[in-house]
């Protein structure tokens, strides 16, 4: 097992390294002059030059990359080009907000999705299964901005239960923010719900037909026993990996959802920064998002490795 852990961590670090090169590379290779963005259109050449020198923009790319990477690891994420504030505290605060939203989304999506997937899988080809299947296929099709606007229309404008706008103030606690989190969380959870329930269903169907389930039945065990101790125990193992993969969807989804609901998270920050070509923020948000995704995958790998006797006891 320890070899497995080391391999996974090694892979994580390698992935992060390559990703950082990609993030840095993209942001550096593309046109646009950060110095001009900072100083504005009327700045003179001399001022631009000295700022470029100061920002280290005239150094060769690999040197810039290493400097950037070193700074990043040490926690120095630079200063925003457009607002002049320090990037790290800003990103961390927004990260906190996004995490709250993400947590609520998963809290809603995961249990419901697994339950639906299990019920559908255990009743393969019966009506309940087709119903779940078709709804999943349909819901996956709805982009988050469509569902978001739809939910706002129904619950905020027509019914007035929840607020249409979720711009919370910094420092709001989870409980206080809850009413404003519900609609965005619901919106973001739909796509993930569809994905996880489909994968869970497939997993359950695959296990139900296996010989050891027949053995369990032929021991005279109750339906409940067979389902929980045998089918689900094995079918849900891959679900852990599925949840980790859906994290990627979650990150993409949150970018859109936060913009629909005006929620001050990383997604909104990203769009804000892109609009202003604010490089340091863009780089920092990208790295944090990738790190979060990679960590989620690592956690899932390790957890399911631990639960799987074939891997745990190597």
């Amino acid at each position: 097992m320890s070899r497995y852990i080391l391999r996974r961590i090694g892979f994580l670090l390698l992935t992060l390294l390559i990703t950082s090169i990609i993030v840095f590379g993209i942001t550096q290779v593309l046109p646009g002059d950060p110095a001009r963005v900072i100083l504005g259109r009327e700045a003179g050449e001399a001022a631009l030059d000295s700022l470029r020198e100061e920002l280290g923009l005239n150094d060769p790319l690999p040197v810039q990359y290493l400097r950037w990477l070193g700074d990043f690891i040490r926690g120095d994420w630079g200063t925003s080009f457009s607002t002049g504030v320090e990037v790290r505290p800003l990103v961390m605060q927004r990260l906190g907000n996004s995490l709250m939203l993400a947590a609520l989304t998963l809290l809603i999506a995961v249990p419901v999705a697994i339950a639906l997937g299990v019920v559908a899988g255990l009743n393969e080809n019966k009506t309940v299964d087709s119903a779940v299947n078709v709804s999943a296929l349909s819901v996956v099709g709805l982009p988050e901005f469509v569902t978001g606007i739809l939910l706002i229309e129904i619950f905020a404008f027509r019914l007035g239960i929840f607020p249409a706008n979720s711009s919370i103030r910094p420092g709001t606690s989870f409980l206080e923010a809850l009413p404003m989190l519900i609609l965005p969380a619901l919106t973001a959870s739909l796509v993930i719900l569809a994905y996880i329930s489909r994968m869970t269903r497939v997993g359950v169907i695959g296990e139900v037909s296996k010989p050891y389930v027949r053995t369990a039945r032929l021991k005279g065990l109750s339906q409940w026993s067979v389902t929980s101790r045998h089918v689900l125990r094995n079918a849900l193992l891959p679900t852990i990996a599925v949840i980790a993969i859906s994290f990627g969807w979650l990150i993409s989804g949150l970018i859109v959802v936060e913009n629909v609901y005006n929620y001050p998270g990383l997604g909104r920050l990203m769009i804000f920064a892109i609009d202003r070509r604010d490089l340091p923020i863009i780089q920092a948000v990208a790295m944090v998002a990738v790190l979060a995704f990679a960590l989620a995958n690592l956690a899932a790998d390790l957890f399911s490795g631990y639960l799987n006797p074939r891997i745990r006891l190597q």
Binding site: R3, L6, R7, G10, K210, P211, Y212, R214, T215, A216, R217, L218, K219, G220, L221, S222, Q223, S225, R229, H230, R233, N234, L237, L307, N308, P309, R310, L313
Partner: protein, 682 residues
């Protein structure tokens, strides 16, 4: 006394889309307590359906349209799931074919055993499960109880399944091909165990097997199923001595018996193939393949008639067969040519070694430490002459497949020399010229993956003709199909439309397309039905006779090897243990491993005698091979330190038998009697 199981006129159909398919037609049988009832049938016979029906565990699409199933007087058909739950585990139990997939991979063995005794406290249940494991002769029950299924060997897994089945003392025990997935030597040990346990209990047993040998050893009564019908039934002795149904005759004829060789006896195969259940012959299901079928057999379905005490047969001509007025046996294959004296050397293998590197961890790779390797083939030497068949027999881990793959060039040997017609054979396929490629071909193990599913049969056969034979015409393809006894319309068919046996024939046709001088065959008949096996073996003999092709035939079945080969090599853990002319293989002296293999095979003759030579322990891990003689850890004739420290010498005797052992040949000859004695068949 009430029968433990009583099935009457059972008919089961499957809803297969629009047209239902009958899988069992009016089948009846009875098993008394303490009796072992053998159920013999090939694929499509309905034996699986019968087993599932008896357990009331048929899939949803199945429907019992008629008949009754009574367990100790209680009618099972119509019981609800809840009611059946009370029956399962306590009154009926199943030992299935593949034990690994029948065990929950995420639960420990002990935990799975304890499930059966939910009524006991945890401590008592634990004690009981240890007792169960001891009952099935597992030597280290505590360790096994704490293990997960993948951590124990196949033989042990099956013993666990047997323990689970017998735990509650069921009235009916169903064994569904319980040893099919196991090695011969392991199979023998498990069969011993089953035999011992049967002795003690009063359980009625339904033993399902396609292996007539096993049935011959175990069963009291026998039922033969063919294409959903019961064709013959009766006491074992009578059935084996004088079968009455042509199909039963065919089955018994088509299996090579231990000790038989192709020069002495010709296998009779059953012509044609098993009909599909959706397209059964209207009258007697066996008529299209029967050599004594008369008009009425094609017009009306024969009834099941009583042909003696507790004997039944479904055939119009059984009385004639009984009176020996008619011979239902299919014509034998023509005898092979006598071997020519000039044995031109076709293949010569010297000191061949094949290694497989184990994947290294990143740390080790960075440190550049050499990879651990497993030696699959260790200094093997053998020679094959023109027109000869060399049989290689071994169990799993013996290296037989690696050997073949190294010769054919799919795998690079680590060392050694291979000569084809006295010229060095390059080890990589890319280094061989067209002519060489045409001289050496191979038929692989799994017929279902042997053909490209996206190419028609004709297209698959055309390739070797074009590449290696230089010709390509429809006539050639027809010729090839005819040679493997397939109709020429098959050229337009796709693999998905062919049965396993038919696919294997096409694979053989493909291998023989460019008329090679040597064909390697890796377990070509192991996954096929018994009646089909004989026709493939005869086909191989026929092709050999026609073209003078040499064959290197690999199998785990020593009876088939002994039948087909001129010379036999016995492999264990990558080493050759014995090489002998096939007829000399069956007489002492034997290598101790050969002795064990010969004594492991269940004999087809119920009156035959067979020594019981069993191996201790488990196959050693190939990562840590034994020193000295590789067999010493399990050898029943272990001498002493010499076996541990020194590699054995090769000893040869006047019959041409070479044995790799420290024990002097004269000693072996003295101590070993004939391992088995079977009566010759008529």
């Amino acid at each position: 006394m009430k029968p433990a199981l009583s099935i009457e006129n059972l008919t089961v159909s499957y809803r297969n889309g629009s047209s239902p398919v009958t899988a069992l037609r009016e089948v009846s049988l009875e098993i008394q307590p303490g009796e072992v009832h053998g159920l013999v049938g090939e694929s499509g016979s309905g034996k699986t359906t019968l087993v599932l029906a008896a357990m009331q565990h048929l899939p949803d699409q199945a429907e019992i349209t008629a008949g009754s199933i009574q367990l100790d007087g209680q009618e099972l058909i119509g019981l609800t799931q809840d009611e059946m739950r009370a029956v399962w585990g306590t009154q009926i139990a199943l030992v299935p074919q593949d034990p690994l997939s029948a065990l929950n991979p995420s639960l420990k063995i002990g935990s799975q055993l304890r499930e059966l005794r939910a009524d006991l406290s945890k401590a008592e249940a634990r004690k009981k499960s240890i007792g169960l494991l001891e009952m099935v002769q597992i030597t280290d029950p505590e360790r096994v109880a704490q293990s997960y299924p993948h951590q124990i060997s196949g033989g042990m897994q099956q013993r666990v399944m047997i323990a689970m089945a017998l735990c509650m003392g069921p009235k009916l025990l169903i064994l569904d091909e319980p040893t099919t997935g196991l090695d011969s030597t392991t199979e023998a040990v498990v069969l011993d165990l089953i035999r011992d346990l049967m002795h003690e209990s009063q359980t009625a047993t339904l033993y399902v097997s396609h292996s007539l040998g096993v049935i011959a050893q175990f069963a009291d009564q026998l039922t033969v199923l063919y294409a959903s019908e019961l064709v013959e039934h009766g006491p074992k002795m009578e059935l084996f001595e004088q079968p009455l149904h042509p199909y039963t005759h065919g089955l018994l004829d088509s299996v090579p018996r231990l000790g038989e060789n192709k020069h002495e006896i010709q296998l009779r195969s059953i012509g044609g193939s098993i009909p599909s259940l959706g397209d059964l012959p209207p009258a007697c299901v066996f008529a299209p393949r029967c050599s004594v079928a008369i008009d009425i057999c094609h017009e009306a379905r024969p009834d099941l008639e009583s042909s003696g005490v507790a004997r039944q047969v479904r055939c119009y001509r059984w009385e004639e067969i009984q009176a020996n007025q008619v011979d239902p046996r299919q014509p034998p294959a023509p005898p092979p040519l006598a071997k020519s004296d000039s044995a031109e050397s076709v293949l010569k293998i010297e000191d061949l070694e094949v290694d497989y590197d184990q994947p290294r961890s990143l740390a080790k790779w960075l440190r550049r430490s050499p990879p651990q390797s497993v030696r699959a083939v260790d200094k093997v030497r053998l020679a094959i002459g023109k027109g000869e068949t060399f049989g290689l027999v071994g169990e799993s881990g013996s290296g037989k497949t690696s050997l073949a793959q190294a010769v054919i060039g799919l795998v690079d040997p680590a060392a050694g020399n291979v000569e084809l017609f006295r010229a060095k054979l390059p080890s990589k396929i890319s280094e061989r010229d067209r002519k060489t490629l045409g001289q050496l071909q191979m038929v692989l193990q799994n017929p279902d993956e042997a053909l490209n599913p996206y190419l028609s049969v004709g297209q698959s056969l055309a390739r070797p003709l074009v590449l290696l034979g230089g010709t390509n015409s429809e006539d050639e393809i027809d010729r090839l199909l005819e040679a493997v006894r397939l109709p020429s319309e098959y050229a337009d068919r796709y693999p998905a439309q062919l049965s396993g046996g038919e696919k294997q024939r096409v694979a053989i046709a493909r291998a023989f397309a460019a008329i090679p001088d040597l064909v390697l065959l890796d377990e070509p008949v192991s996954s096929l039905d018994v009646s089909v096996q004989a026709s493939i073996l005869n086909l191989l003999n026929h092709l050999q006779r026609k073209h003078g092709t040499s064959l290197l035939f690999i199998s785990h079945d020593i009876a088939v090897i002994g039948y087909l080969s001129d010379y036999v090599g016995v492999l264990y853990l990558g080493h050759l243990m014995e090489v002998a002319p096939s007829r000399a293989l069956f007489d002492p002296p034997y290598h101790p491993y050969t002795e064990a293999l010969l004594s492991a095979l269940p004999l087809l003759d119920p009156k035959a005698s067979q020594e019981r030579v069993r191996l201790q322990g488990e196959l050693p891990s190939p990562l840590n091979p034994p020193t000295g003689c590789p067999f010493h850890t399990r050898c029943p004739r272990f001498l002493g330190q010499i076996c541990v420290e020194q590699t054995p010498p090769w000893q040869e005797d006047e019959t041409g038998t070479s044995i790799y052992c420290h024990i002097p040949l004269e000693d072996l000859r003295e101590e070993q009697g004939l391992v088995f004695a079977m009566r010759k068949r008529k």
